[in-house]
Symmetry: C2
Subunit: 206 residues, 2 copies
C-alpha cells in the first residue's frame, strides 16, 4: 500500500527544494505535501476552526502564496478524504478480502484496516470525523457507508444470532476508535493489529 511515493517529511515549516538535480528549478510545494500539512492541522483544531492563515503559516508561506498552490480550503479537504477512501477500499480489493471463508475475510479486512488507519492516520481521521456540512463531505460519507456495508455483510455471514448491523457497527467503532489515541511510533503496528484482533474476535474475557 501507500502506492505513490510521498515525501514523508515530519512537517517542517521551511520550503523544500529538491536536493541537487539540475540547477535553476526548485520544486517547493507539491499538492500532496500541502494536503498533508492541512490534514494534520484540521485534525488538531477541527476543519472549521482551522483558518487558511493557519495552514499557510504551517507551510511556511503567506496566505496569498498558499492560494497560489491550492484552489481553496475545501479542495484540501477533498484531496485528503480521497486518499483516505482509496486506502480503505484498497483493502476490500485485496485477495484475502474477496475470497475464502467469511470469518477469514473479515479477519483479514480488520487487520489490514488497522494498518491503513496507521499509515494514513491523518487522512482517515479526517474522514471519520465528518459531519456532512458540504457536498464534498456528504460524498465522502456516502462512500464510507459503502465500506461499512461490506463489513456488515461479512458479519452477517459470520454470526446469525446477533443483529449483524449492530455488531458490524460496534466492530467498526472498535477499530476506528484507535484514531483517537494511537500515534505512530508509540507501539509497533503489529502489536496494535494483534490487540485489535483479539479484542474484536475474542473479547475481554478469555
Amino acid at each position: 500500500m501507500t502506492s505513490d511515493g510521498r515525501p514523508e517529511r515530519g512537517d517542517g515549516p521551511g520550503r523544500v527544494s529538491r536536493p541537487g538535480r539540475r540547477s535553476g528549478h526548485t520544486e517547493p510545494y507539491t499538492l500532496a505535501s500541502l494536503v498533508e500539512v492541512a490534514a494534520r492541522a484540521f485534525n488538531e483544531r477541527g476543519y472549521d476552526a482551522t483558518s487558511m492563515e493557519d495552514l499557510s503559516r504551517a507551510a511556511g508561506i503567506t496566505k496569498s502564496s498558499f492560494y497560489h498552490h491550492v484552489s481553496g480550503k475545501e479542495a484540501l479537504l477533498r484531496a485528503a478524504l480521497d486518499r483516505a477512501l482509496d486506502g480503505l477500499f484498497g483493502v476490500l480489493a485485496e485477495p484475502g478480502a474477496v475470497s475464502g471463508e467469511p470469518v477469514d475475510r473479515l479477519r483479514h479486512i480488520v487487520r489490514r484496516q488497522v494498518e491503513v488507519l496507521v499509515t494514513e492516520l491523518p487522512y482517515v481521521t479526517l474522514l471519520l470525523r465528518l459531519r456532512g456540512n458540504t457536498e464534498t463531505e456528504r460524498w465522502a460519507l456516502a462512500r464510507r457507508r459503502e465500506f461499512d456495508q461490506t463489513i456488515a455483510g461479512l458479519v452477517a455471514a459470520v454470526r446469525d444470532d446477533v443483529d449483524p448491523v449492530v455488531a458490524a457497527r460496534l466492530l467498526s467503532g472498535t477499530v476506528n476508535s484507535l484514531i483517537e489515541w494511537y500515534r505512530p511510533g508509540r507501539m509497533p503496528t503489529a502489536d496494535l493489529v494483534e490487540a485489535v484482533d483479539r479484542q474484536v474476535f475474542e473479547g475481554l474475557l478469555r
Copy 2:
C-alpha cells in the same frame, strides 16, 4: 441518574409558556432547554459551524433575544459538557461500580455507561468530539481522561496478559462509538446494552 427533571420536549421552535400557574408571568426559556437545543445543533453541524443565529432560530427567537438568556456560545458548550460529565461520573459512584470483583464492576460500568450514553446522547456526543481548542474544552477533556483512567485500572485487574491501556482504550472506543449511529427509539436500550456487553466481553466469535 438524570437527576433533575427536565422539559423533555422534542425541540419545537415556538416559545414555551408555562401551563396555567399564576397569571402575568411566563417563563419561556430555561437555560437547560436552550442548552438542549444548542447541544443538538452542535452535534449536527459541529460547534464552530453552528452560529448563534442558527441557535436562536432553532429556539424560535432572534439572535439578540437569545443573548438575553445566554452569556455566550462557550457557556452553552460548558453547560452541555457539565451535564455529560455528571452522567458519566455518576456511574462510577454507583454501588455496583465501587465494590465487588473487578470483572463485575467493569461489566456494571460498561452496561450503565451505555445507558447514560443513550439518555444523555447529545451531551455526551459533544464531549466525545472535543478537540481542546479552548480552556473550557481542555477542562472537559481532562475530566474525561480521569474517567478513562478508572476504566483502565479495572481492565488491568481483569486481564494481565494484554496491555491494559490499549485494551481499555479499545473498550471505550467500542462503547463510545455508539454515539455515531444509535438514535433513541430505534432499538430498545436493553437490547443495545446486551449487544455491547456481548461484543465487549465475548467478542465476535462464539
